[in-house]
Amino acid sequence: MKMVIVAGTPGSGKTAVLIHALRNLKQRNLNSAVVKIDCLFTDDGKKFEKIGIPTKVGLAMDMCPDHFAIYNIEDMIDWADENDSEYLIIETAGLCHRCAPYTVNSLGVCVIDATSGPNTPLKVGPFLSTADIAVITKGDMISQAEREIFRERILEVNPHCKVIEANGLSGQGCIELAEEIIKSPEVSLEDEKLRHSAPLAVCTLCVGETKVNKKYHRGILRRIDGFQTYEGE
């Protein structure tokens, strides 16, 4: 089993790019299966079904969507096995980007929208810096100069990643992504680990606190001036 984990900002074109790439795998008689993770609602599943790819939708609801994806990886692999799929593609919800949902032996694909501004690659953190492939979308809407700056900024953050400039509408660049998916390593779940630890997230908000004032908050707390403290037992 080969596992591809796709992360990216909402609306960056993850689904559009994947549809073109998976259609290409299908033409080569390679079976893939897609799990689409989202928070409350998605109808992206239907788009994958339309091109004849087994699709499962997972809604994280009250759980952190990246944690939900990681927690369910075993089940997803079992499900892909049942469907005789050689490639399991997990499309994550893509929200805060502070988490990098890639595991060590998966192919980590980060989809990033070129119209989001030249500083975006510097802002997003491990979701880009630990990816194997950065897919840049919507490059046709900005100037050549901005494209080059964006590309360079990505390589500044992640010098070892492969950059693919793709167009989710025309499918340009998606065959290259399919090639990389085929080349990716086999994954087994024994000892499989995340590439990057998630932020320290046990906090009062996690257990349902809704009050805003400082005095109600516990856990690892960081003030805007940079002072970090631990409040609690």
Binding site: D140, I142, S143, Q144, A145, E146, I149, S170
Partner: protein
């Protein structure tokens, strides 16, 4: 990398028939046109060249560079990109001043900071409304943006191939813009419906049903017509400036065009 020529080897059209044009060689400094009706496959031809496709796109075309197949590395390493693009759909979205933006771009391409003024000066020869270093990029007009993109591609982006996709309504001196690009030793391909641009190319390929239907060489008569069309274009630009500056145009002296 120095590119002396690119070769397009024909593939298949939308009906899965072999393209009538089997092979086109385009040389350094040449301006090559791509014409055809909407949906005839102009953009997909440009797309094939942009990715230096090797029979791996829908058209199954192959693109050779200096007569040889480019390596996988040359095709996919983003720092080695041979192709720069300019199109009507492109906008400047970066929230920066013109000067800061150009020096950032120059830095990314390993070019000297001196280019910044050169780019602005060149851009100002292509548009009627002067661009200043401290202008915000996002408030530039369509014409200023297009002029700045052309000058930036000519001077800072060192990609040897430039693909231009329909810049007809841009409000810039199109003739000069193409000359600027080909003058910098680039291979320029221009997709256009505009006779001013189409007739100033050396040759043009006519697209039909997704395939390259034929190649037309620009005749001497067309070339001299192109000069006249360019004068009309300049005249329109000068009227545009007058309108822009609040002048009243009640009568134009057609003799002013100097045909």
């Amino acid at each position: 990398m120095i590119i002396d020529s690119i070769t397009i080897i024909g593939g298949y059209n939308k009906k899965d028939e072999k393209e009538p044009v089997e092979k086109i060689d385009i040389n350094r400094g040449e301006i090559f046109g791509v014409v055809g009706a909407t949906g005839s496959g102009k953009s997909s031809l440009i797309g094939d060249i942009e990715q230096l496709s090797q029979a791996d796109t829908f058209s199954k075309r192959k693109i050779l560079v200096n007569g040889e197949e480019p390596s996988y590395e040359d095709r996919t390493n983003p720092r080695k990109k041979m192709v720069a693009q300019l199109s009507q759909n492109m906008n400047f979205l970066a929230d920066m001043s013109v000067g800061d933006f150009l020096s950032l771009h120059a830095k990314c391409r390993g070019a000297s900071d001196k280019c910044v003024n050169a780019v602005i000066n060149l851009a100002n020869t292509l548009t009627g409304e002067p661009i200043k270093k401290d202008h915000e990029l996002t408030i530039l007009s369509g014409g200023q943006s297009r002029a700045l993109m052309v000058a930036d591609v000519a001077i800072i982006s060192d990609s040897p191939i430039v693909l231009i996709d329909e810049i007809e309504n841009a409000g810039i001196r199109k003739h000069d813009a193409l000359k600027v690009l080909s003058g910098h030793g680039k291979i320029v391909m221009v997709v256009t419906h505009d006779p001013v641009l189409a007739l100033m190319t050396d040759r043009r390929v006519v697209m039909k049903n997704g395939g390259m239907d034929k190649v037309v060489g620009t005749s001497e008569a067309e070339k001299s017509l192109s000069k006249k069309l360019n004068k009309i274009d300049e005249f329109m630009l000068s009227l545009r400036d007058k309108v822009r500056h609040g002048e009243v145009i009640e009568d134009v002296e057609m003799g002013d065009i100097g045909l």
